[in-house]
């Protein structure tokens, strides 16, 4: 057989995966709905998940596999029951509530009203059944996703600005932030830093920029975090992290402080529409960023 013939045969085998390939390319990020299949990812943990419940800011994510036979804890969703183009196994018993921020892009959706209409797999025979170990690893992955967070933990990181600054000469602090007045106010916990000031100071202290920012900024409001956590915003954060070659969590935080700074310029601060502020922030910063869909 010639190389071309072998390759032609290979291409025909890939055909049934085209729906997934297209989904990876288009990376749709609508608001999640029950019955959706998504790619979920946080840091280096990635899998396919079925959305069984949506209760913002959480969703119930059920792990899905494309290449493992179901056991009696799982159901089999044949291609007639969804638009993924390949048979999948939905590990119903191994789902858990995870923050919506872990949803990366949508792959498709279930075409039947519920997973209760799908057939369960065959009996799992215990610890030596390969599906037992697979389920353990899926549960471990879901647990890591359930803990996914980017917002600084208020109790752990705030309020230590004085202790942090005491490790540096006052003159070094002045040089980093640009004025004696600002340096003194910082020490008293009365001033906040711009990203550039925080970056210069962080460099001298050997700590992440966002740690300084979170130590000098007011705590991020829950409403702002919730407004950032939707898939559409997450996709923009990811693109920014990639374009600037920064850590993702660092980027989430920088964006959130950017939104805060934007909101602080408002005259009426009694009521902030965070969704609108988040949108305005990204509209201002993202156009300059090249989009690379191949990640």
């Amino acid at each position: 057989m010639s190389d071309d013939e072998r390759f032609a045969r290979f291409r025909s085998r890939l055909a049934s995966g085209s729906a997934l390939r297209d989904a990876r390319r288009t990376r749709r990020t609508p608001f999640p709905a029950v019955g959706d299949f998504w790619r979920v990812r946080w840091d280096e943990t990635a899998l396919v998940a079925f959305v069984a419940e949506v209760d913002p800011p959480l969703v119930r994510a059920v792990p899905v596999t494309l290449d493992m036979e179901a056991d009696d804890s799982a159901v089999v969703a044949r291609t007639s029951a969804h638009d993924l183009g390949v048979d999948v196994t939905i590990w119903i018993d191994d789902g858990s509530a995870v923050p919506m921020r872990v949803l990366e892009f949508k792959l498709g959706s279930l075409a039947v009203p519920s997973t209760a209409e799908l057939a369960a797999g065959t009996t799992n025979w215990g610890p030596t059944d390969p599906r037992t170990r697979l389920r353990a690893s899926l549960q471990d992955a879901i647990e890591r996703l359930a803990d996914a967070a980017w917002a600084p933990d208020a109790s752990a990181e705030n309020g230590d600005i004085e202790a942090l600054l005491d490790t540096l000469d006052f003159d070094d602090v002045v040089r980093a932030v640009g004025s004696v007045q600002l340096a003194s106010r910082l020490r008293r916990g009365e001033a906040s830093l711009t990203e550039q000031q925080a970056a210069r100071l962080a460099d001298r202290l050997g700590v992440p920029t966002t740690r300084l920012m979170s130590a000098t900024q007011p705590v991020l409001p829950d409403e702002l975090i919730a407004a950032m956590d939707v898939p559409e915003v997450r996709a923009r954060v990811d693109r920014m992290a990639q374009a600037r070659d920064r850590e993702e969590i660092e980027t989430w935080r920088l964006c959130a402080y950017g939104v805060m700074a934007l909101a602080a310029r408002e005259h009426d601060r009694r009521q902030t529409f965070w969704e609108a502020k988040v949108r305005a922030y990204f509209d201002a910063v993202l156009p300059e960023i090249e989009v690379n869909p191949d990640r």
Partner: protein, 312 residues
């Protein structure tokens, strides 16, 4: 290891090249015989193996792309999928040989009844003449309750050692008792294969399915007992050998740490539940292969093997 941006972007030629490279690597590591219909691992044979992986694992390339985040994890995912298929194929060849072996061994025991119609099957003489149509997991669960079942080898030519024969008879009896009907040969052979730790066949032997020495006549008892049959109790190193072969690489590495699931997880660098699952599987393999009271020697032997594996 290259930059897999082209593969993530869905470039099929790049995916094809990567799969061929990983398939060649998997074949090299397994040392097994080439696919049926091939005499060597040529590009055509590798291509057929890629096709086999697609047939068994569906869209495993897309699965790998969606479930991994780095190039090295993607390669490991795909390589593992290919190796699993190679291993499953090896087991199926072995199962075919085991079916022939079951005819000899169970045929010599009065409690087993042979069916040739509507298909080749076994039942206990005391069981009703109905076809078992249940779930193989149930039969495996019933057979896994037994202890001290181990086979020094599945089906070398010549008489089967008594320990192997006893293990096969006991497991088949437990499974057929659970089935309460007649069970197809491939299903029963699969239960035996999953429940009896055994040293696998050499690749050379799997290549000779028509070896005249293994052709048996149903209903005839085996050839006269050979010297192996004198062995009442298997030495612990033979038992350890069989269990070692039944373990995968993770289970082998876990052996010295089985006192604690946490220790297994940290030694293997895997998360908590995965570590516990590996430990549980390794323990079941040790327990089913050993008789009560004999575990200590076997575990000691397995630990030494694990240590020498680490030293390499």
């Amino acid at each position: 290891m290259g930059d897999h941006a082209a593969i993530r972007a869905g470039e099929q030629r790049a995916q094809y090249k990567l799969l061929l490279r990983l398939t060649r690597q998997a074949v090299g590591r397994s040392g097994g015989p080439p696919m049926s219909g091939h005499v060597r691992w040529t590009d055509d044979a590798l291509n057929d193996l890629v096709g086999e992986v697609f047939a068994r694992k569906g869209q495993f390339v897309e699965a790998g792309l969606l479930q991994t985040t780095t190039d090295s994890k993607l390669e490991l995912y795909l390589l593992t999928a290919i190796e699993n298929v190679l291993r499953d194929m090896g087991r199926e060849t072995e199962r075919f040989r085991l079916m022939a072996r079951l005819e000899t061994i169970l045929g010599a025991e009065t409690e087993f009844f042979r069916h040739l119609r509507p298909y080749k099957a076994w039942r206990l003489r005391s069981a009703p003449v109905v076809a078992w149509q249940g779930d193989i997991g149930r039969l495996i669960i019933a057979a896994l309750r037994l202890r001290g079942v181990v086979a020094t080898t599945w089906n070398r030519s010549g008489p089967t050692p008594r320990s192997t024969r006893d293990a096969i008879v006991r497991v088949a009896e437990a499974a057929l008792d659970e089935a309460a009907g007649y069970v197809r040969d491939p299903d029963l052979a699969e239960v035996v294969q999953k429940c009896v730790p055994a040293v696998p066949l050499d690749p050379d032997e799997t290549e000779q399915p028509t070896d005249p020495r293994i052709v048996v006549i149903i209903g005839h008892s085996e050839a006269a007992p050979g010297p192996d049959d004198e062995l009442e109790v298997l030495p612990s190193d033979a038992i350890a050998d069989a269990i070692w072969h039944a373990m995968d690489a993770d289970e082998r590495r876990a052996v010295p740490h089985l006192a604690s699931d946490r220790a297994v997880a940290s030694a293997l660098g895997v998360p908590r539940r995965t570590g516990a699952a590996i430990a549980a599987s390794a323990k079941v393999k040790i327990l089913s292969g050993t008789a009560a009271g004999t575990e200590a020697d076997v575990v000691r032997d397995l630990c030494e093997r694990a240590k020498s594996m680490e030293d390499v």
